[in-house]
Amino acid sequence: MARKRRKIPLTKRLETALELPDGTLCRSFRIELSGNRRAVIEGCRRILQYDQNCIRLDTVEGALCFEGDCLRVNCLSGGSAVVAGQIATVGFEGE
């Protein structure tokens, strides 16, 4: 049985072909980490799970999971979220 290939969106393929920065033509998410205390995520759609030890965010490219202690969402607006606390691991879960 032939394995089904994952379809790459046209805009993404164009971006790659034209060597444009990520997020120019298609929506993508971006994480900016300040040590292990703070993470700014752009391209966040919603919060999937929220507790002190785990915060899961739904992004345009799948789920993003933060694990650690005393985690909290400082701000969530306009597709951006700020996660603060003691971040131990950052995990990606594909679509």
Binding site: I47, Q49, Y50, Q52, N74, C75, L76, S77
Partner: protein, 400 residues
């Protein structure tokens, strides 16, 4: 926005900190973000959820919370609106604030306080009254003051001042003065010829002649009016030269002080309760805060100032309490013992007055207390030491 600006913005607009129980906090956060309701500082503690939002957005958050199956509860409210909310029915607060701001704006260009600085011998009142006559008084406009003109005019009005300047500091006009150094007095002995005669009887203890010729020596007894220092001095050539005599002749004298205290005497004494008449002082104006008519009769006025004070001067705005105590002529009856005590007190007062005038009391020679039907008379004779000189002009007639 920096943190301080954010705090200020939150304070001005009002901010609400709330907690949510049960349900799905992640859903509430997502829905709030979609509805453009910014929730800040959200955190999870066990099953509870905490966050903050602007006060005006909290009502919009409730339907979202219901959809997320959560029950919201306000934990803390902060901001100007919540601070002022308890006073919303107190009309005095906004009226007072408006009045204060109006006063501040109207009076910021005027002098509130005038103070004198740098004076040691000239009283403050003299300087301030001179400045008031020149237009520097509480309530005058700061911009209308012509400093150069003030300096020139004030120096002519205050001859004992060598330098004066008016320095406005905020609403305080500080009048800085430098007093003129006192030049020593030079006595002109060649004018106003005079003799020194004895002012009272006594025995001379010492003679100091500054000008003229001594007519007495120590140990000599003198009577009142006797020449002590003569203004006519014989020169070496045998001519008579006239001078103004000066000197000190200390003599041992006898002084008799007699005090009479009647058993019944009339005195002005407080009668009745004081009448309270407060006034509101605003700069130089006293606005009466009473509605009664004018007072007739004699009153003793006691004044208490309730003016804001900053340690160095008082502001000329505040309450002044005046108590008018009526005074009546009252007949006082003294017992013989009380009359004697009063006589002793009055004798002491007289002695103090004489001591301050240069008389030294050496000893008490004789004391009598005479009691009559009308009162008591205390007579005391003292041995004193004092300067008995009295200057009298010397009339000189030229014979042609």
């Amino acid at each position: 926005m920096t943190l301080n600006w954010l705090r200020l913005w939150r304070f001005l607009t009002g901010y609400v900190w709330f907690s949510g129980e049960g349900g799905f906090p992640e859903r509430l956060l997502t829905e709030a973000a979609k509805s453009h309701l910014p929730l800040s500082d959200s955190r999870r503690e066990g099953e509870s959820f905490f966050a903050g939002c602007p006060a005006r957005d909290y009502r919009r958050l409730r339907p979202l919370a219901r959809r997320a199956c959560m029950r919201l509860k306000i934990r803390h409210k902060s901001g100007l609106y919540f601070r002022l909310f308890p006073y919303r029915k107190r009309i005095g607060v906004p009226v007072g604030l408006t009045l204060a701001v109006t006063l501040l704006v109207l009076l910021s260009g005027r002098v509130w306080v005038v103070t004198a600085e740098g004076n040691t011998t000239i009283p403050d009142g003299e300087i301030l009254s001179a400045m008031e006559a020149l237009g520097v008084y509480p309530g005058c406009r700061l911009s209308s003051l012509d400093m150069e003109w003030l300096r020139t005019e004030a120096l002519t009005r205050l001859p004992q001042v060598s330098y004066l300047s008016v320095n406005p500091t905020g609403c305080v006009a500080r009048v800085a003065v430098t007093e003129r150094g006192q030049t020593p007095f030079i006595q002109d002995f060649k004018q106003n010829f005079s003799n020194m005669v004895a002012a009272r009887d006594g025995r001379i203890l010492s003679v100091e002649v500054y000008s003229g010729q001594a007519a007495v020596i120590a140990g000599q007894g003198v009577t009142k009016g006797m020449l002590l220092i003569g203004g006519a001095v014989e020169s070496a050539s045998g001519n008579t030269v006239f001078r103004r005599s000066a000197g000190r002749v200390i003599a041992e004298t006898t002084r008799e002080i007699s005090i009479t205290v009647p058993f019944r005497e009339q005195k002005q004494l407080p009668a009745g309760d004081p009448i309270f008449r407060p006034v509101f002082r605003f700069l130089t104006w006293d606005i009466p805060l009473f509605g009664h008519g004018a007072l007739s009769g004699d009153y003793l006025v006691t004044e208490y100032h309730h003016l804001p004070h900053n340690g160095s001067f008082s502001l000329p705005i505040g309450l002044i309490s005046r108590y008018y105590t009526p005074h009546k002529t009252t007949v006082l009856s003294h017992s013989p013992e009380a009359a004697a005590a009063i006589a002793d007190q009055r004798l002491k007062e007289q002695k103090d007055a004489l001591t301050s005038g240069g008389v030294t009391f050496l000893s008490e020679q004789h004391k009598t207390v005479q009691k009559t039907d009308r009162g008591i008379t205390l007579t005391v004779t003292y041995l004193c030491k004092e300067d008995i000189t009295r200057e009298i002009p010397l009339s000189v007639t030229e014979n042609s």
